[in-house]
Symmetry: C2
Subunit: 462 residues, 2 copies
């Protein structure tokens, strides 16, 4: 009987544990986690804060009882502090004090933690981070005490910042979103990001773009003064509450102390089978470097990837030799009535590759215009002008337009190393209420091909 121990009770750790138990029900599995929230959907936190999700408990992918029912030992409120690699012992401090847990194979799934920019008084009432369930509980409690109409600020307009802005607007707060980039959602090209910026404003939030927070200081009566600087000059505003969502960094102390190497963005180096190189120590999830099918090694912490890496680790810890097939960087977010999605690389992100990127934006209807409810999709396609290979795609449009699954067509094509031309050849589904004989993704691919042909005729570099 193999004894697997996973440090971390989120996507990677739980996926590894579940997969191991699935493959060999005799496996003894212990999951060690620092809080009381095993297998919670961190991505769902903004929807609990917003009120779309009624109870905190419903954010659990599986309850603790579910996990225990499949034979997992869940040790919550337990900190893993050190790994004795030679003796295969994990030191932990839990409700019963310090102890050591013997393992045959150890998975480190310590995840990521929020970046805490200097000059922001974290820990003070009214200043919030949003990453863990504990963060969420504190934020919800604070918001419940604020009168509707109170001024609140969100710093950072990435996925979480945008989802939080939507939730705060839905709860009736006077919400300001402060974004350093030219547009919100800087993971998209500004041409597409500007559609999202407009959507946030259309729903009544104030959006400051090109704005850097230079300080947050008390303004009296429990209020906070947020100072920002932009190209147009400095400004400040007063808010009852500030939520800071400016990204995350990998949590690697335990792994590093155990002898694991750190790489991209300080994340734990693992091979494609999730080995750290330290004997019997594996790692997966937001704390490790990401194998990317186009870029090689990068760092791209996402729940989807963590699940897959954890599953791979769970198999390999039992002696299998499964390989993580690699990310292509697929991401999607709903922002009010819009959906914005991307996969693969943007034009400038192809720099490490030996390619001649060409990017073309096309607007195409989601379904036949004669059928009620047709809406335009803005689709950017990036391909290699030399080989024709598809490199990436971005789509923004209304929620009804099945954008998330349309980006999946591009993601699947990227996984298969297809050319843009191959996308035109795909036998995609069509019925007038849901598509067109050439689906919008193919209209965009044809637009890219025309741009490539025109560039060839012009004989110019692109």
């Amino acid at each position: 009987m193999t004894h697997l121990v996973a440090v971390g009770g989120s996507d990677a750790g739980i996926a590894a544990a579940l997969r191991a138990r699935e493959l060999d029900p005799s496996t003894d599995v212990t999951v060690v986690l620092a809080d009381e929230f095993p297998n919670f959907s961190i991505c769902g936190i903004p929807y609990w804060v917003s009120g779309d999700v009624a109870t905190e408990a419903s954010l659990a992918h599986r309850t603790r009882a579910d996990l225990e029912a499949v034979g997992m030992t869940v040790r919550s409120s337990t900190w893993a502090s050190a790994v004795d690699v030679d003796r295969q012992l994990l030191s932990v401090t839990g409700p019963a004090g310090e102890e050591q847990i013997a393992y045959d194979e150890l998975l480190i799934g310590t995840g990521a933690e929020p970046v805490r920019p200097a000059g922001i008084p974290f820990g003070e009432p009214g200043i919030h981070l949003l990453h863990s369930m504990t963060d969420a509980e504190q934020l919800v409690a604070a918001l419940d005490l604020l009168p509707a109409g109170s001024r609140v600020a969100v710093v950072g307009a990435g996925y979480i910042g945008l989802e939080m802005t939507e939730g705060l607007v839905a709860r009736g707060f006077d919400t300001t979103l402060i974004q350093r980039g030219q547009e919100v959602l800087s993971t998209l090209d500004p041409e597409l990001g500007s559609l999202v910026t407009a959507e946030v404003r259309r729903h009544g939030a104030t959006v400051l773009t090109g704005a850097t927070v230079t300080g947050i200081t008390p303004a009296g009566a429990g209020q906070w003064r947020v100072a920002t600087t932009t190209a147009a000059g400095d400004a400040e505003g007063t808010f009852a509450l500030v939520v800071v969502c400016v990204g995350v960094r990998p949590v690697t102390d335990l792994a590093a102390a155990a002898g694991a190497q750190l790489g991209r963005a300080g994340a734990i180096v693992v091979d494609e089978q999730m080995r750290t190189g330290v004997p019997h120590v594996w790692a997966a999830g937001d704390c490790v470097v990401t194998h990317h099918r186009l870029l090689g090694t990068t760092w791209l912490p996402l729940g989807t990837t963590a699940h897959k890496q954890g599953r791979v680790a769970g198999e390999n810890m039992l002696g299998e030799s499964r390989t993580f097939a690699g990310s292509v960087g697929t991401q999607v977010v709903k922002v009010f009535d819009l959906v914005a999605a991307r996969t693969g690389l943007r034009h400038h992100e192809t720099a490490p590759l030996d390619v001649s990127p060409l990017t073309r934006v096309t607007v195409a209807d989601d379904h036949k215009r004669y059928y009620p409810g047709a809406v335009p999709l803005t689709i950017s396609v990036t391909g290699d002008h030399t080989s024709g290979r598809l490199l990436g795609a971005q789509i923004v449009g209304e929620r009804s337009a099945e954008i998330s699954k349309r980006i999946d067509t591009f993601a699947t094509a990227l996984h298969a190393s297809f050319t843009v031309d191959d996308v035109i050849d795909l036998d995609l589904s069509y019925t007038p209420p849901l598509g067109s004989p050439w689906d919008a993704v193919q209209v965009a691919a044809q637009g890219w091909e025309r741009a490539a042909a025109a560039a060839n005729q012009a004989g110019v570099g692109v």
Copy 2:
């Protein structure tokens, strides 16, 4: 200057003409069509009949003026009667009488025509087919004269029959759908088709399954008596109007007389570049055999395929050498509030292949259950138990569930010859309102893998 002539003004002919003009604007293109409806969306007819589409004219993908603006000569109400292959002349009869049109390259895109079962008095008032715009005009005119609540029958529960049933119910008719198969939509497995049958009944239509029409005879006062036979015995009903939608067959007279060979289902044999083998004569669309990436040659008339084949022909008629990449049989239909989609092969359809098919049905939520509006998808995956290769998928669920684009993920995977396991590895998009960390298509792929593993352990054939 090349002179291309296309016979047929629907998807294949127009796609070829457009592509040729796009690649070489000096190309002289003439499109000959029998009616006055060039480039109309035949797939949209049920939505005009239903009233979802307000005007007949809006069913045109492009207007005649659009086509002429890109340099196409459109000769409508013109019958092509013979091809003189040696002299490269097409004989036509049009408004100005008989004449011959010289061509450098000829595309035959004569499409398909509805099957007319014996015993049905086609041509009589109240007995309708639904394939051409003229059919649609006659049907709409007849329906406009019928009082709401009149009893109408639809014979055949394929895509058009189901869409017509929905449209007739929407218009307030007392509608009966008569289907020979065990369930409606016999292009799906009965387990999934039964969900669609239930949906049609839920919306108030009567559905007779396992029922064959044995005769339609006058019942007096403009009514028709429809006699059916089932395993349970014979029955009959009286209807004010009957629409017969029992499939189509290829229109091949012109091509056959020109010397083209006929193959599967009597369709014109073409190579993958859309050559008929007759010098300078090409063919595309519903009238030709279909290259299928799994089956080899079959016949599967679909608008999406016709567009692609036409585009290929348009390039090759100008001397290019593009290959039609092949269908994988992707199809989708909306039926009231459900969407049903398929791609690839069903279990029994794999018989011509050297595979050991295994089929598994999985039910998975379209998005995280904690976010409002989650609905279950029923997904059937067929794969080769020996090689693991994906062979096909079917999905049925609510319209909100982005089913059409989810089948596209499977279709793209089939195009890439992926295994079921490869689908699990795909980096698909995720955000709680629109998906799950493992998308429903991946949950279904995992379900298939578990079934395959269980069958292996049991050591039994499947």
